[in-house]
Each structure stands twice: as C-alpha cells, then as structure tokens.
C-alpha cells in the first residue's frame, strides 16, 4: 500500500506542476535587492499592489528595504489600476521613475503594459516583480501540512478501528461519538469551566470529560458484544444512533461555540517544528499504537484471537476482556477525535463526524487490515488514511469538483483493496 501512496503522490506532483509566484518576506527582500542591482545606487521607485493584507505587507516590506538602502520610494499604491495610473502621472510630471515594483498580481495590470508609449517620460522605467519558479502545488509545505491536518481526526479514529477490526468486529459508532464528545466537551467548557473565560485546567478537564463519555459508550457496546453475543455491527449501529441523538439533545440541536480562543490550541496551534499540534498528537498515537501491536501482549492477544478465537481461548488468552478493551479504546479515541475537531472548528456540534465511520473503515481496510480479523498493522492504517487524504487533497488541487471526487474515492478504495486481494490470492485458495 505504501507504493500506492507514493504513486498517488507522484501523480499529483506531476498534475500540479505549475509556476510559483513567491509573495512572502523573502520574496520582498529578493525583489528589493534586485531593484538596487538593476537601477543604480539611489533609484526612484513606485510600489504598486492590490489592496489586500498579504500584498500590503509585501509592499511595505519592499518599501522599507529600499528606503533603508537609500532609494527613494515616491509612492506606495495599494488599490486598483487607476490608483496606479494616477501615481504614474504624478511621477511622470515629477522627477521620473527608474522602477515600478509589483507582485505577480499587479504585474498583469494594463497600465503597466506599455509604459514607454503611455508615458514618454517614463520610457526607461523598468517593471520588476519577484522571480517566479516552477514547483508542484501539491508538494508545497503548507499543502502537505494541510493534508496531515485534515486527516488527523480520521487517522486517530482509525487506530481504535484497526484494533476492533483485527478482533473480527466493526465499530460504526465512531462518527457519532465524535459529535457526542465535541458537544460534551464544549458544553462542559461553556457551563462549568467559565465559557469564553475558561482556563487551561477547565478546558483540559472538559476535554477529558468528552473522551470519557465516548469511552463509556464504547464500553457499553463492548459489553453488549462480549456478554450477550450481539453482533458488533448491530451493537455499534445502535450506539451510533444513541450517541448521535444524545449529542443533539445535549446541544439542543445547535452548535456550542462559547469557547475561549485558546481552546483552538490543540486543533490549530503549531508548537513543535511548525507542525500542527493535531498532527503531532496523531503521530505520537501511531507510535504508541505500533508499539502496542508489535511489542506488547495486548497486540499479540488481539491478533491471536482475531485469527482463531477458540485457539486463543484454549491458550489462555482472556478473550472477553481483550475484545471489550478494543471497543473501549475505539470509543476513547473517537472521543479524542471529537475534541480535536471541536478545537479545530472552535465549537462543538452534533453535526460533526457524519460519515466518518465509513472513511475510517475505508482507511483501515485500504491499509491492509483484513475485515475477517487476525491481520493488520497500525502503520498500514496510517498509510491507508494518508492515501484517502492525498486523493481528496490532490483532486481539490487539480480542480475536480466534490461529486466527482466521491466517485473517484470510492473507486480508488475498491481498487486498493482489490490489489491487495490479488496479491494474497494464493492464500485464500
């Protein structure tokens, strides 16, 4: 499956190969240096950009740099082409211009199309913009982080789902548990921790509260499955309805948004090497889950009982306890996913997490875990989740609209699993 992921990355790298117009502070510095090199020691410069925060910051930085180096910035235009025309006329009437500094957007303005003809006085004026280069949009740093951030909730859910599916079960309730946990956490912050004034301890306890409620729901499903032999599909389907309904009741059908800005720390902050906190959390959880599955007795028990429940039982594996634990963990991780989502969107809502159970199951299955149980790995699941994220992100970048995206996603999931099946054909007989 790793090859599928790499292949998709390569595909979208090629498809999104395009001209990049840098616009950050580094680009502004480079442009200022460029102007000073081409237009002599103390040039007279007009800076013209659109009236937008990013553009304005770019213009200001260019102007400051030039001024510091001894150039004369006659005017900084932030606005429309006609503002630039006025500035050009004033400059033509005045002392002339060596250079007009623009960015990729304002460079397209018709006023600048033929300066020599329109303003004979500015016949030698140069139009300069930051140098562009070619690079795939897909591989831009912010895009890659965006992919990781968008999939983090599903990927966290998929850890618990992998455990459950390895036991030969399924957990359909995780999507609803996201909603339940997000609403629970938000309501706790609003009603008990002081709403928008809430402090870190209050928010932490509220988040743990949301996770605990989801874990309890998982425990309930697990008990139904273990003690009464209810098929996992049915037990968790029922829990999906119960949890979804409870979330709506708790939130009275609305979003709960009375949260402090600092509540967004988990979902939108980026405190470690510029990585979003949700992504760091996800990676940490995958590390732990991988260790549990490959090094710990719990992982061994899960794989053994999923492979052959009777043989595992006759070998002394506490089958019921392990299966129960898998559902509790799945619930708790769904709760954590709900808290992350509430943090990303700065509110709790009963509408969160719809269809997430299906995307989560897809990630697990695409990652090579067998729905029959007894086979699967956490790293496989992570790759599966990334495959889904890359497909969605790549199609967005290429400009495929969302209805088509669903069709393609469905086909790709089927193809990925089919590929795996064909590879293992000699096994099933």
């Amino acid at each position: 499956m790793l090859w599928v992921l790499l292949g998709l990355c390569l595909l979208f790298t090629v498809l999104t190969w395009s001209e990049q117009h840098p616009s950050g502070p580094a680009a502004a510095d480079a442009l200022a240096a460029d102007i000073l090199r081409q237009c002599g020691k103390a040039p007279r410069v007009l800076v013209a950009v659109r009236e937008q925060p990013d553009d304005a910051a770019f213009a200001a930085r260019v102007a400051t740099r030039l001024a510091a180096a001894g150039a004369t910035v006659v005017e900084v235009v932030k606005g429309e082409p006609r503002d630039a025309r006025g500035a050009l006329e004033r400059a033509a009437a005045g002392g002339g211009l060596e250079c007009v500094a623009v960015n990729s957007a304002s460079a397209e303005w018709l006023v600048f199309a033929d300066l020599a003809r329109d303003y004979p006085a500015l016949a030698t004026t140069k139009l300069l913009q930051p140098k562009s280069y070619f690079w795939p949009n897909f591989l831009k740093r912010e895009n890659l982080l965006n992919i990781a951030n968008q999939i983090s909730v599903i990927a966290i859910l998929a850890i618990g789902m992998t455990m459950v599916i390895i036991t030969g079960g399924i957990d359909l309730s995780v999507g609803s548990l996201i909603a339940l946990a997000s609403v629970t956490a938000a309501v706790l912050v609003r009603d008990l921790a002081g709403g928008v004034e809430a402090g870190p301890t209050g928010m932490l306890l509220a988040g743990l509260g949301g996770i605990a409620v989801a874990a309890a729901a998982g425990a309930f499903s697990g008990l139904m499955i273990v003690c009464f032999g209810i098929p996992p599909f049915i037990a968790t389907l029922a829990m999906m309805l119960v949890a979804g309904g409870t979330a709506s009741l708790l939130a009275r059908g609305e979003s709960v948004y009375q949260l402090p800005d600092s509540f967004m720390w988990l979902g939108r902050g980026a405190d470690f090497l510029g990585l979003p906190n949700a992504v760091v959390l996800m990676l940490l959880l995958y590390f732990v889950a991988h260790v549990v599955m490959t090094r710990m007795t719990l992982g061994r028990h899960l794989l053994a009982l999923g492979g052959n429940r009777e043989a595992a039982r006759l070998s002394g594996v506490p089958v019921s306890a392990v299966v129960l634990l898998a559902y509790v963990l799945s619930g708790a991780l769904a709760g954590l996913g709900g808290v992350v989502m509430a943090s990303q969107l700065k509110s709790g809502s009963p509408n969160y997490g719809q269809m997430y159970e299906l995307y989560t199951i897809a990630a697990v299955v695409v990652g090579g875990t067998s729905l029959a149980g007894g086979e699967g790995s956490m790293l496989g699941t992570l790759v599966g989740a990334l495959i889904i994220a890359v497909i969605q992100n790549g199609m967005n970048l290429v400009g495929i609209e969302s209805y088509t995206q669903r069709v393609v996603l469905g086909a790709v999931i089927l193809a990925a699993v089919l590929l795996d099946r064909l590879r293992h054909r000699n096994w099933g007989g």
Binding site: R295, G307, A311, R313, G316, G374
Partner: protein, 511 residues
Amino acid sequence: MLTGKDDTGARRQHAAPLLEMRGIQKSFPGVRALRGVDLTLGAGEVLALVVENGAGKSTLMKILGGAQRPEAGRIFISGNELAIRGPQDARRAGVAVIYQEFNLVPALGAADNIFLGQELVRGAGRLGWIDRARQRQQVDQLLARLSLSIDPLVPCRELSVAQQQGVEIAKALVAGARILVMDEPTAALTAPEVEALHAVIRDLSRAGVGIIYVSHRLEEIAQICHRVMVLRDGGNVGEAPTAEVGRADLIRMMVGRELTEEFPRRHVRPGAPRLVVEGLCRGKAVQKVSLEVRAGEVLALTGLVGSGRTETLRLIFGADRRWAGRITLDGKTLALASPRGAIAAGIGLLPEDRKTQGLVLGLSVRKNFGLPNLPRLSRGGFVRQGEERRACTEYISTLQIRTPSSETAVRTLSGGNQQKVVLAKWLARGCEVLLFDEPTRGVDVGAKVEIYQLINSLAAEGKAILMVSSDLPEVLGMADRILVMHDGRITGEIPDAAHATQEMIMELAFA
C-alpha cells in the same frame, strides 16, 4: 449424469444391484480416509455400515452425496455408471444423504423445507409461482406415511430431533430418492422414537428403497438391518448377513492392526494420584465421569467417536462449563471455570483439532508458541521478544520441529510439525497435567514415534497424562491404564494395559 457403459454395463443390467461402489479412494493431507472401498446395496435392502474411524465414514457419505469427489473408483446405480460431480448429480440419480447435522432451514416450515429447491410450480413454467395447494396435499400424504403428526407450517427449529429427521426423510422421498444414507440416525432419539424410525425404515425397504444405516449400535443393527459391512483404516474388512454375525465377530472385524515396534517402552512406576476428577457432568455428553491420573502415569480414555471422551477433556480444561463435578490437582480443589484458570493451575490441553482449536494458523511458530507463555515471557505488558525467540528456537531443536525458522507461519507446516508446535506451547508452560486429545491424528509415522517418545519422557518426569485416542494399538502401546467410555459414561476400566487386548476395549466400547 447417467451414462450407459457398453460391455460391462450391458452385463450388469441383468442382476444389477441398486448401488455399487468399487475401489473408492480419497485422501487428505496426512490421512488416507478411503483406500479402495467396495460397497453394494440391493433394492429394498437395509445395509448396516460400521466404520471404525470418523474420517472414513464422513468421506464415504460425502462422496455418495456429491459433496466430495473420489480420487479413484467407480459408482454404478442400477448398473449405470454415474459421475457424481456435485450434489445435484447425486440427487438426480436418486441418492439422498441424511447427515447427523440436518440440512433444514430453521425458519421455514416442514412444507417449505421438503420442497426447497424442488418447488411445485404452476402456470407457464418457470415464473416461479409456487403451487401451494398441491405441495400441501403431497406434504400431508408424506407426513401420514411417515406417521408424523406435525403442522407443516411450524418453523423447523421448533420441531423435535425426531420430527426434523422425519422432515429430512420426507424431503428425500419428494426428490425421488431410491438410496437413502442415514448417519447415526438414532443417536439423539428416545426409545419410542427409535421404534417409530425403524417402522418407517421397514416401510421404505418394502417399497424398494435401499438404505445404508451407519451406526455403532449393535442391537439396532441386529433388529433392522439385513446385512452388515465393516470398514476399518479406510478399507473393507468384512461383510455378512446380519443373521450370521454375532457380536464377537463384529468386534473382531473392528479390531485391526497388531501392535508393532513403533511404541517405545518405558519403565515408570506410577506414584501418588495427581489429577482427581469426581462426578463430572454435562448434559447427555458426559454423565458422572470420575477418574484419577497418577504421577508418571499415562491414562488412556477411549471409546467410539461421540462417546464423550473429548467432552470430558474439555470439561477438565474448563473449555466448556461443567454442570457438576469436582476436580482436584495434587489435593487442591480447582475452580476451573475457564481455560485461563486451568492453565494457571498447570493443566495443558492438546486439542482434538489443531487447526481450529490448537493454533492460530496465520501467526508464526514463535507467536503461537508464546501465546500461553506470555505471562512468563513478558514484563510490564511488553513481550520480551528476544527471550521468546530464544525459548522457541530451543524447543524447535529439542522437538525437532521442521520449520524454516521461528518466524514462519504455522499454516505452512506439515501436520506432524504443527502438532509439535502445540506440544511445545504446553511443554514450555511447564504443565503438570497434560490432556492429549488424539495426539497423533493426521500425523505421519515418523512424527508419531517422536510424539510417543515425548509423552514417555513427560511421564518419566512425573507428570500426569490423560490421553484420548481412537487408535487402539496406540492406546495399548502407550497407556498404563485404560478407561473406556460409551454414551457419556465410563463403562469399564482395564487396569493393566500391558495385558489388555483390542477385543477387550471394543467389548466395553460397544457396552
């Protein structure tokens, strides 16, 4: 697929028996279930088939029913050679097999079950409108003929075993069966129900239906069957009219292979009782079973398939819940409510079917080996994999398990080597009591001897060993003492196995 055979076929037509099977062979990995079986059945004849082992019996029935195809051999029906490729062919040729596990749809009534797949339709043929009135009429006639008073609309899961069996017979008759194979048909019936079934069989016999009656119950065979045929080790050992065979003759036929040198002798004087079981009960399967196994002793528990031997072992191990009974180990009473508890107490079970109960086939040798040993091989929840690998490699070499490495999936090993992996699990656990259920089934001869040597050396260490086996030479060669079961009860003990004979065991097994 009826195909008239030219010369032989033509000759056969004169006095062709209803069914003739010749040289039927079939083998599975590790087992030769049938090695050239011949069988003939005349119209209206009731043939008792007494089979010594389970594999041969079920294979023969499945071949007749079309569920399996023989590797060699020919089947003739009324002199015409028949190629049975699937269940439909068997049905078309008039063969019906009634297995011990019935093939009824539990939620459907008798009428729908009887006509399942052979519905009477009306109108323009194939549209599938079921002619319920006509079906109902036929069902009523059939039920009357079989003396069954049931409502044909009541779901079959609500019927008694005898009634379900009646529905199966009715289904066979609707399909036009001329040959009816019944597997242990009276195993779950009460005495009056057996009488009723026998009446039906006599009636069918008079109507010309040939019946193969697979059973171990000698009295019934004498009552109902015309002829008896014995299969052992996958081959014919004898047949005769029922009137001419006595109980002693049958037992002689069932007893086979002589003792050979494959059983290494050991010299152990059994010590004090270690495992003591008193009054073990679970339903009809195990009734008031008491036994004790001494240190250094190999106690064999034998009897025919289905006599409750395996069930007894499972109860001791806590795999099934016992309804009554007390188990003590070295004087301490054990609760033993789960295999986990039994393992903690020092009891190990080598189950009857290693593939479905003994091993997780997809996992490696090492991980299977480690499963019951994780408490010792882990610290703080972490498996000490180096330690585990080392211990596993050690057992691979001492038990001479032929595997490329400890990381190979057990699925790929041969039967004998898989069995040794199961053994290694329990040896590493240091179990004091070992329960072996058919320890050499499906194991090649070389590995068998190695397993016997292992059992002997375990006994020499003072462990208590309880072994279930259907293989009489194995029982005689390995055991110090023999207990025989029949219908859930212990029917006899042979205290001195060295002077026992296969006939003595069979006598007790038939009770």
